[in-house]
């Protein structure tokens, strides 16, 4: 009877927020399934089931209301991000391991929904690439003519994992060739190899990235994310890649290549924008996004891993509380003092 004001509430819930994030991922997923291989659909299902089971178990242990939290959709978003960032033909248990680790350790051991300091999907990625580097870098040869059943057989280990199936990601291919070539190979010549590279980035992958971009713009339009993180992320990545590309186009790929390769687009719109583990103040978001974009590039080009988005986001997660603290915006009526 003594429910407090306001009595009118906006028609929005956590599960609606999460559902819209999932919907926004669909264009990217569609391009992925169409151009890279339908296996991704199986991986999405595997990750989702694993996440929901792990979530349910953890809720059970903590005696939290199952239905309410399972329905919030946050576990599904984590699961999808894991499926979409892991190699599509990774064995099922790798995806399950990553997902369970994300939900149990990265999320619930830190207090559950809203409490995790690190992005759970990126924790899963980092753990798995450190623990299973070989499996995590087996990407399918693009244009591999295989049906869903054949791909599922590979995922579940019914068909042998042929080495011929796998290759490096475009990012990795470029990096390795440049390293091996020791200055004798140039980017333009490498990119002309249409088996791996498409118009300006990875063959097929550039369309997947475009799908994420589309979904991300839709999220922006729905005001579920603000412009700060994506703009800062893309801006920083474009700026540093552009500067080095201008300096030596034979050694460094173009900004377009970097933006449409690997996890750049999904990172800019879906991962670095995770509110729980990211920054919350407007200036903080700009710093967070720019930091993540910059670090991603540095790790990609100079570091030991083919793609840097996961580690970049985790490193920025680490600094988010401090950034927030230092970027508190002035409040109403106090602007001249700031």
């Amino acid at each position: 009877m003594f429910a407090p004001a306001p009595y009118l509430l906006k028609d929005i819930s956590v599960s609606q927020v999460m559902t819209q994030v999932c919907i926004a991922l669909i264009p990217g997923i569609a391009a992925y399934a169409w151009l890279i291989g339908p296996a991704i659909l199986a991986q999405l299902v595997i990750a989702t089931l694993a996440a929901l089971l792990a979530e349910a178990a953890m809720l059970r242990v903590q005696r939290k209301p199952l239905a309410m939290f399972l329905a919030d959709g946050s576990a599904i978003v984590t699961a999808w991000l894991i499926a979409l960032t892991f190699p599509p033909l990774a064995p099922w248990w790798l995806v399950v391991t990553g997902t369970v680790f994300a939900i149990v350790v990265a999320k619930h051991l830190y207090g559950g929904l809203g409490q995790n300091p690190f992005n759970p999907a990126m924790v899963a990625f980092a753990i798995c690439i450190v623990a299973f580097p070989a499996l995590m870098s087996q990407w399918p040869v693009v244009g591999l003519q295989q049906g869903l059943i054949e791909q599922i057989n590979i995922i579940f280990g019914f068909s042998p994992r042929l080495d011929a199936l796998s290759s490096a990601t475009p990012l990795d291919a470029l990096k390795t060739s440049l390293k091996l070539g020791e200055g004798t190979v140039d980017v333009a010549r490498l990119l002309a190899n249409q088996d791996i590279f498409g118009n300006f980035a990875g063959r097929g992958w550039e369309w997947v990235a475009a799908g994420y971009l589309l979904g991300g713009l839709w999220l922006l339009q729905r005001r579920l994310i603000t412009w700060h993180v994506p703009v800062a992320f893309i801006g920083a990545l474009a700026l540093i890649s552009g500067a080095l590309w201008l300096y030596n186009p034979a050694q460094f790929a173009s900004p377009l290549f970097h933006l449409f390769s690997g996890g750049a687009m999904i990172g800019a719109f879906f991962i670095a924008t995770d509110p729980v583990s990211g920054c919350t103040t407007p200036r903080g978001k700009l710093i967070f996004g720019a930091g993540a974009g910059l670090l991603a590039y540095i790790i990609r080009v100079f570091g030991g891993y083919p793609d840097g988005v996961a580690f970049a986001v985790l490193l920025m997660n680490l600094s988010a509380p401090l950034i927030d603290l230092l970027t508190q915006p002035p409040i109403f009526g106090m602007k001249d003092k700031a």
């Binding site: 009595y7 309410m68 409040i331 009526g333």
Partner: protein, 578 residues
Amino acid sequence: MLMNLFKFKGGVKPPTNKTQSVGLPIARAPLPSRLVVPLHQSIGGTPRPVVQAGDHVLKGQLIGEADGWISAAVHAPTSGTVLAVEMQAQPHPSGLDALCVVIEPDGKEEWIPRATVDYKSLTPEEVRGRLQHAGVVGLGGAVFPTHGKLTASKTVPMDELVINGAECEPFITCDDLLMRERAEEVVRGIGIFRDLLQPKKVLIGIEDNKPEAAAAMRAAVTALGEDFTVVQVPTLYPAGGAKQLIRVLTGKEVPAAKRSTDLGVQCFNVATAYTAWRAIAHGEPVVSRLVTISGNVQEPRNYEVLIGTPMGELLKLAQPHPDTDGIVMGGPMMGFLVPNADVPVVKATNCLIAHSERLFPPKAAEMPCIRCGSCAEACPHELQPFELYWFSRAKNFGKTQEYAIFDCIECGCCSFVCPSRIPLVQYFRFAKSEIWARERDKNAADAAKARFEFKQLRDEREKAEKAEKLAKAAAAQAAKKAAEAAAAAAAPASGIAESAAPAPAPVDADADADKDAKRATIEAAMARAKAQREAVQPKNTEAVTIEQQRAMDEIESRRVVLAPAAQEPAGPTGKKAE
């Protein structure tokens, strides 16, 4: 005239639900069977009752006299008999009782003599005094005594007088109807304020979803030859918050720590201007107000209602649906459920909303905060509600103050948008009241400690004095005995002139013994007092943090200021010891 409008950040757009109650003109609510008039209806001192049970009162007669400058008088809303002056439940979120004058109407509506006055013949002080005695307070809901806001700052020139006709809360339409039907008197009332404050500009802000009201006001301004500007402001909750409206119309931002006059701007509600005019020009104190009745009712409408009318009785006029399960006073964003249907309409009652679960479905369960930031985007005071929530929840009240919790105007925008359904405003109210309570407790504890120490010192002194008396008596006794013994010893050897010689000796001995005994008892008393003092010293003062030590030192230094009263009694004892 085209005006450059400013924007305030944040804000939300809840469904306005205003059309329901604007279809019919203002109606006069019938006399209720009983009127319960609370004495404390405005911010500031509680008016003192000046009537008692059995008195006959006339409509408009003073029943509660203003107590102090920030306080406004209260009047009988109709003629009749005072049944009681007693505690009654209040329309207040706390549900606490307060002193009320209960009046049984005689049905005659007999007024006190009312004089029509040309206020231009009055001095500003007289105008302010009349407003105070007529009980004119802010009718937008803040109920701040109006006369208290009608003095311009001496140092800052008065730039703008802002008149608030925005009425941004959903459901409420009483200001809208007032402006439509009584625009002329509103404008005349604004004229009084203008004359007192002498602003450079007068801006009347009305949300653009009330074109009829704006047109009526414009017509009245033109008809009366005033140079007020009627401005239609975008419909965005809480555009009707005084600070938001000031921002929109003038670009000035008034922080919590400042008064708006410090920035050369002052703001009044349209209904306040109306009652000010009635009070000054017609000698009518505030005994009624317009109330919107809406929500889960068949006939939503605006009524002119006597202050003190029981809400339940009033609600019946609009025919509430059978599933009505409560009454919200105020709008759905900032209002509250009243404790029961008998509580009276007060000067702050602008709207009654019949509550039902159909209209306001129960809130979904509260989820953890996902730091989505929606609340911060919606907050018109540009606070970080989720941080405030976090610290309120953790009872880290110091941090809530660092994050400017007292700048929160409790508008409810953050709760409105939160997808986790966290009742954020409730946490902020809790934190604010905790901070106030702690402040009070601390002051009370300091006072109690000073009292305790004073009592302790007095006890010690009394004990010391008692011991001293006993010692004196004992010494006197001993001296007497010694003298007797000496006399006895001297007696056998009497007859010789020597007899006079020992006489002074006992006197000396007596004095010495007396002094020694005195000193001994005083020392003993002091030692005891010291031991006692040590015994009651708090034992938890070791291993305090730097902050705690600083806080303690601060308290100590304040106590030293208080101390003379407490230490004086110690003086004599202390001095004697030297």
